[in-house]
């Protein structure tokens, strides 16, 4: 595959902060590249430089082989576009928002109308033309922002945590759209994300950025195979526990993570290890759970977060667990702070970091 965007020794300094330090990265045409890294690692800065709205302090950048870091990054801006983490919409109708980029490129009214309709269909917001953009829900707003970016058919689409702070339903719509766009339109995409599952699902390659430096580039799996608690902290994993694992001799291990908590995992390892369990894999009940699950714990609800369709709970069961249930279940079980609950998850749900 050809290289569409080439970054050579890109550095960015602000007053006394080094945002990026000698970053070397090639973006291949048609790929989906995921930028991983903790907060403040420089992902946003890197994306902004790629988008041409920020200039590197030093280094070279080439777009389709042509130097673009000197002078006005006009060319880059016209062929790439970026979707911001905090949705930025003009205070006007959905139509006018999406049409903005097209009008800059002097499209006729007819062309603009058609294109707007087409992208709204893609993001599944047909008929939303006349609605006031800022009055839509958070998820819908981000979809409008995405539609706006898609409308101008750029070569490269840059996304900065596009689904952070969005409710799950919209998250899945957006992820599907991105997948589709990459497949159908062959648009190159660079997505900064915290969500390793998203990275795995969408991206072919991933680059790990820590404190302004690219630490590793490879497939998402390779990145996640890196042994470190560091990975866990920025992958924003929940339910991460470190401890000493002892093999049971039957293909499983018991990991003692402290505070009286012993977790049975479906792998055979002895020694220091770090494991985690996805919140969705944990079953919660107000009654003792009878199942084949090997990990059953009793606990108390410490915190409730209402995310609309789902409810996230922090449960104290020796250690803190983050559990996720549907709103319906939450209401059915009539849960409150301090409610006594039972948690259960399979040994196979326990993953190693």
């Amino acid at each position: 595959m050809k290289t569409i965007l080439e970054l050579e020794n890109i550095s960015k300094f602000y007053e006394n902060i080094t945002a990026l330090d000698l970053v070397n990265l090639n973006v291949l045409e048609g790929e989906v590249l995921s930028l991983l890294g903790p907060n403040g690692s420089g992902k946003t800065t890197l994306l902004r430089i790629m988008a041409g709205i920020e200039k590197p302090t030093s280094g070279k950048m080439r777009f389709k082989g042509v130097r673009v870091d000197e002078g006005d990054a006009c060319q880059v801006r016209l062929r790439t576009t970026m979707v911001f983490q905090k949705t930025a919409l003009f205070n006007t109708s959905v139509y006018k928002n999406i049409a903005y980029g097209l009008q800059l490129r002097e499209c006729s009214k007819r062309e603009t109308d058609e294109k707007v309709k087409e992208v709204l269909k893609t993001v599944r917001l047909e008929g939303y033309e006349k609605r006031q953009a800022k009055k839509l829900s958070g998820g819908e707003q981000q979809r409008v922002a995405l539609a706006r970016a898609l409308a101008i058919d750029t070569d490269v689409l840059l996304l900065d945590e596009p689904t952070a702070n969005i409710d799950p339903k919209n998250v899945s719509i957006i992820e599907e759209v991105l997948s589709w766009v990459n497949k159908e339109k062959k648009t190159t995409m660079v997505i900064a994300t915290h969500n390793m599952f998203q990275a795995e699902a969408l991206a072919n390659r991933a680059a790990l950025l820590i404190e302004g430096r690219i630490v590793k580039v490879g497939s998402p799996q390779e990145i996640f195979a890196l042994p470190s608690k560091l990975l866990a902290s920025y992958a924003k994993l929940e339910n991460v526990f470190s401890g000493i694992s002892k093999s049971t001799g039957e293909g499983t291990s018991i990991v003692d993570v402290g505070d009286g908590l012993q977790i049975e995992a479906a792998f055979d390892i002895t020694g220091n290890t770090t494991v985690f369990v996805r919140p969705e894999d944990i079953i919660l009940s107000t009654n003792p759970i009878v199942s084949s699950a090997r990990n059953v714990f009793e606990g108390q609800i410490a915190e409730i977060s209402d995310l609309g369709a789902i409810v996230k709970l922090r449960v104290k069961a020796g250690r803190d667990f983050t559990v996720q249930i549907t709103k319906r279940s939450f209401n059915d079980m009539q849960l409150n702070i301090d409610s006594k609950v039972f948690l259960a998850f399979k040994a196979s749900s326990v993953q190693m970091v």
Binding site: Q103, L104, R105, E106
Partner: protein, 325 residues
């Protein structure tokens, strides 16, 4: 995109400039010649000038613009060339205006009298006294707390008169004006009368303004000391020297002066106020001075408002010899 934006902007800018220009043109007076007259407030606020204006503009294609300010400011306007003509009533200041070179062709057009007016109860009991006696009594009573005085305090002709009277009565105005009962109005005759009424005080007023305000029910003060040589009030018109200020409308000014001293003009002055107020507010001066119809008053005027035996010494005249005998 940029192109359409700039087209819009240019159109908007043009639209703004066009409407502002259009408005200015619309609001401007007609293409008529314009005469700016700075006048003493007593002539303006009595609406005498309105009557004059109506007649004059019916006859001549000149737009009269009166600016009512008071003698002192009127002279200042003229010094800057901001007025074509002034109508004032303070001979001392007028002489300075002439000798300074800015004023030319002075003509006395009218006269009336000042009066000391005050509350009906007349706490200082000055009714019937002579002017200077009355002033002394007022000071006495005021210091006792039974009376107050309101002064124009605005460098107007009336104020000038007041100042000279205080001087003649033997008072030092600088110290007198600081005393608690001495109120500085700092405004025109009308406003001063209203303040005098409000404070139940005494003041020096010209009869013209007093009569109008009295009859219009705006004040309920009484005339307590009137007539007499020292209360004479003489109005004159002075044009502005075109040599010094080339932009002034000298021709128009002279036309207006000639109108004021014409029979028609004098007639307007003579009869103004008769119907509304029962008596005229002003008296015409031209015929009086020329024919000496009332020798006493004519003599008073000559002594009070003439310079070197004439209303306008020859060195301050420019053309229009027919105006002077």
């Amino acid at each position: 995109m940029k192109k359409t934006f700039f087209i819009w902007v240019s159109m908007l800018v043009l639209a703004v400039i066009a409407s502002v220009a259009g408005t200015t043109y619309f609001l401007r007076s007609s293409m008529k010649e314009r005469l700016i007259i700075s006048t003493t407030t007593s002539l303006y606020e009595t609406d005498l000038l309105k009557a004059v204006e109506t007649e004059f503009e019916a006859k001549y294609p000149i737009d009269l613009n009166f600016i009512s300010v008071g003698t002192g400011i009127a002279i200042e306007h003229a010094q800057r060339g901001d007025a074509d003509l002034i109508l004032v009533h303070s001979p001392t200041d007028e002489l300075g205006f002439l000798t300074g070179g800015t004023g030319i062709n002075r003509k006395i057009i009218a006269y009336n009298f000042f009066a000391i007016v005050g509350p009906e109860t007349d706490p200082a009991k000055i009714q019937g006294m002579t002017t200077l006696q009355a002033l002394s009594r007022i000071v006495e009573s005021s210091r006792n707390g039974t009376a107050k005085w309101v002064s124009r305090g605005d460098n107007s002709g009336t104020h000038a008169k007041e100042k000279s009277l205080w001087k003649d009565a033997g008072f030092n105005l600088t110290t007198l004006s600081k005393e608690s009962w001495y109120i500085n109005s700092g405004s025109g005759m009308g406003e001063t009368l209203k303040k005098t009424d409000y404070f139940s005080a005494y003041t020096l007023a010209d009869m013209g303004t007093y009569l109008k305000y009295q009859k219009d029910g705006l004040i309920s003060l009484k005339v307590l000391v009137e007539q007499g040589k020292d209360l004479l009030n003489v109005y004159s018109a002075i044009a502005v020297n075109q040599t010094l200020h080339p932009n002034v409308n000298f021709g128009g000014a002279m036309t207006f002066i000639k109108f004021l001293i014409s029979d028609k003009g004098q007639q307007i002055i003579e009869h103004y106020g008769e119907d509304q107020y029962g008596q005229s507010l002003f008296y015409p001066a031209v015929h009086l001075l020329k024919e000496n119809t009332d020798p006493t008053i004519a003599q008073w005027i000559r002594e009070y408002a003439f310079f070197n035996g004439t209303e306008c010494p020859p060195e301050y005249r420019k053309g229009y010899a027919e105006l002077y005998d």
